[in-house]
Symmetry: C2
Subunit: 159 residues, 2 copies
DNA sequence: CGGGCGGGCGTTACGTTATAGCGTATCTGT
DNA sequence: ACAGATACGCTATAACGTAACGCCCGCCCG
């Protein structure tokens, strides 16, 4: 059981959903029932969750769904910046920021407890931009995923 | 057809294989026929290649092989630092360096031509280390994969 | 020499992740 | 109401990856 996995308080969850709705409305994007439910499931999970785990939960909730159902919802949520994909885990997490601005995504992935912390470090973004421009490379998206052991798990192991 | 994909000259390929053999011998690691062939196929490809594409080529060459055959060889080559895995593509590339020292791996991935350039930027490594230590996170491996358009493809598109 | 051990490999079977393609329904703007 | 675009249901299949078992062979030690 992941030590850091904590389900957000219900109030915070509701708040994040409300803000997601607002953000979508503002852009004319349609946060349908399925999409909203998938987002809710991801936020509830509190840790990275795979597409098929989401599918199972979706079926529990609404009795319906096939793989494309989930993948289409995920595509939408990714495009809206409401969630991120963790490449290393083939899994998805809610974006910790408000989705108002696109931002580079950087993760610390704990191999012990499975938790993922999102961070945003300017220096990394700058360094990537420098390297890219030096070779004429046009950056579309940059993936930074650091695997290791989080402070809590390291302490547990040591203590 | 990827614009940048170029098969290395045969002489260079042979040279890299020879050095791989030497590196393995030095460490007491056994570069068996299968492992050597898989490495050779990866180097020949000149661009990222998936496990099942490797399997097909392996079967063409030797008439044998199942998925575990390839995955076991890949595990070995990864452990020896002779190849890298590109998470974003679920594919593998030869390591451009001599495998004498482990090193953080950073890629520029062109979405147009499919080519991948490996680079090693000290600033990124430093920034990651800083972030990690600040939160007590112990880094085991760091993945940096930048998606975009390489200079050649950008020029083509513009011209 | 021969017995035990470990690594490498073959094989079967299965689990997991992701997408193609097509038809239907629903929503939106005019 | 109509036309076009978007969303969704469904079947099927592609693509990626691993568990588990047994055999064979080389090596080391007695």
């Amino acid at each position: 059981m992941p030590a850091l996995a904590h389900h957000a308080p219900a109030a915070e969850l509701a708040d994040r959903l409300t803000r997601a709705e607002a953000a979508c409305a503002q852009r004319g994007a349609r946060l349908t029932d399925i999409r909203r439910t998938v987002l809710e499931l991801i936020l509830q999970a509190g840790e990275p969750i795979g597409a098929y785990a989401l599918l199972d939960r979706l079926k529990d909730k609404s009795g319906q769904g096939k793989p494309p159902t989930v993948y289409r919802a995920l595509d939408f949520l990714l495009a809206q910046g409401l969630i991120h994909r963790v490449e290393r885990l083939n899994a998805f997490v809610g974006c910790h920021e408000e989705a108002d601005h696109p931002h580079p995504v950087q993760f610390l992935i704990c191999g012990e407890c499975g938790n993922v912390a999102e961070f945003e470090d300017q220096a990394i973004g700058t360094a990537v931009a420098t390297i890219a421009s030096r070779s004429g490379f046009v950056v579309k998206r940059s993936i930074v995923e650091v695997e290791g052991v989080c402070a809590e798990c390291a302490t547990l192991a040591a203590g």
